[in-house]
């Protein structure tokens, strides 16, 4: 009894310590961004100061610089627009493709799915030169449409591969039942398969959107004007001037960009994890 008691307490201590370690590890960058955003430069650069707290009065100077002297809001808008478009294009192409590969082509579906996934593994650093020719030929250079065109080539293969797994886990009998109950195959797909795979679809949405916000090479290569920048390129280009780093504003920009995505992840966390098809089939 006593030994069991010790063991439970021991297990709890390990459990809690692991949680604490990971929480600190994951929360620290956010803490650092917040504190750096509001610190005066003099406080930030004085080596003797305790870096984890405010040693002088907090300031809004860095935010003023970010919003007043750069086109940060415009970049955020560009990124949101490109993100939304890429998500829509990805879903429109990847969802039907993944369903077809998962259901209709039998064994070849699997091979083709892996083949498509492999194209995702070709790094952008290899592709940006030929793709910049394509973008130039289409006359899309220096516009956000260049990245709207190029990003789906990265998001679609991965999304197809991911969704294939989701669709395969949905028992075929569910669609059969829906078809017997009065739907067409397309109706069964829209009203049965899509709602059940909502976790997979949300994963695709978040994956595509985050890819757009963090992609660097294509955005840097294809777009030069300040007003058309994506947030991931605009921040380092315009807040690092020569050898001067505007740390406070850089951290503020990172914070403002990353918090919404972090919140989004948190909001749908259950959806990602939930065993959504449990109970459908014994």
């Amino acid at each position: 009894m006593q030994r069991g008691g010790f063991r439970t307490i021991g297990a709890r201590i390990v459990h809690v310590s692991v949680l604490v370690v990971f929480t600190i590890l994951l929360a620290f960058p956010f803490y650092w961004m917040v504190i750096a955003t509001f610190k005066q430069n003099i406080d930030l650069y004085t080596v003797e100061n305790n870096p984890f707290t405010f040693n002088a009065k907090p300031t809004l100077d860095h935010l003023r610089l970010l919003f007043g002297e750069t086109q940060f809001v415009r970049w955020l808008g560009n990124t949101a627009l490109v993100g939304a478009l890429v998500v829509v294009i990805t879903l429109l192409l990847a969802v039907p493709a993944a369903y077809a590969l998962a259901r209709l082509t039998g064994r070849w579906g699997q091979h083709l799915g892996i083949g498509i996934f492999l194209t995702y593994l070709i790094p952008p650093t290899l592709l940006f030169i030929p793709l910049s020719r394509v973008v130039a030929l289409l006359g899309l250079q220096d516009t956000i449409w260049s990245v709207v065109l190029v990003y789906p080539s990265m998001t679609i293969p991965f999304s197809i591969w991911l969704l294939m797994g989701f669709f395969k886990s949905i028992p075929k009998e569910l669609e059969d039942a829906a078809m017997v109950d009065g739907l067409t195959r397309f109706g069964a797909f829209i009203r049965m398969v899509v709602p059940i795979s909502v976790s997979g679809i949300l994963t695709v949405v978040i994956f595509s959107f985050t890819l757009v916000t963090q992609e660097f090479v294509y955005a840097l290569t294809f777009i030069s004007p300040e007003s058309n920048q994506m947030v991931g390129v605009g921040i380092p280009i315009f807040l690092v001037r020569g050898d001067v780093y505007f740390w406070g504003s850089l951290m503020a920009a990172c914070l403002i960009t990353s918090v919404p995505i972090a919140l989004l992840y948190n909001l749908f966390l259950d959806r990602f994890i939930a065993g959504f098809t449990v109970g459908a089939v014994k």
Partner: protein, 348 residues
Amino acid sequence: MAVVETRNLTKVFKEGELGAVNKVSLATHEGEFLVFLGPSGSGKTTLLRMIAGLETPTSGEILIGGQVVNHLTPRERRIAMVFQSYALYPHLSVYNNIAFPLKAQKVPREQHRTKVEWAAGLLGIGKLLGRKPRELSGGERQRVALARAIVREPAVFLLDEPLSNLDAKLRASAREELEQFHKSVGTTTIYVTHDQVEAMAMGDRIVVLHQGVVRQIGTPKDVYEDPADTFVATFLGSPPMNLVEFSDVIVGFRPESFLPADLLPGAKHVRFRYKVNYVEYLGAERVLYGAIEGRHFESKEIISRLSWTMPAGYDAGSVHDFSVAESDLRFFDRKTEKRADPRPYPWQ
């Protein structure tokens, strides 16, 4: 209600290979409970799926209510199907699961509640309407699946092994409920199973399938007592029919007809010396495994089934006189394995 008929229905999945279903012609009666019985791989589910419209036949015709339905989609065939896994929609509540066919078929919204409540009431699941499928037990899921099937009052029910996911005790009561249910709605029902007890207990008639071919269609009594060939003879009955080869015929008799000679008065018997090798005690009965000694059938393996009311003393190693009434013998052609005419003993 409607009659389902198939004419030379064939399904070949891979060209050049043997068909999963081969030239099956059969017809249900109006309001009948017809059972497709066969081992796994016998084509019974494929046959059912073709009738449902979920599988396209390679050749042949399917008729429902006298109309050829080959070209119709599943939803146009006025059928309802219960799947082996029940296929409940996991993201919908029980109410919405049952109402789903109504919505899909665009039944006016104001009728939904009445119909769902009628179906749920019939199956005793009125209290579960707010739950999700994952919160139900196996038996409850099966009832929800049935309620979803009856809610739009289909012409034909197709049931694909709906009891195979239930434990033995629940299965017996569900079987009884299903029979009652069929009696009360009276819809033509096709039921697929590999379980002969289910088939015998529930079926008005049984279609015995093997390798995609219909071996026999008949009432449970027909297929059990007068099997059309040796496959049916050994597939039905547990333990199966004893088969002994003799010149150009195979002679079959049920283990329960092979009894101690002194318990079978009257003249028309065939007698054997029977050596018991081992005994299975099953409570209500004993199953003896042994061999015939002497005469034509030296050391043929034979099974006998004795009811618990019969005297004890048939222990392993003992030798007794056993006999079979001549009227209980069935004859099969040795080449074709089909039923042959009875012959007088000694069968020459």
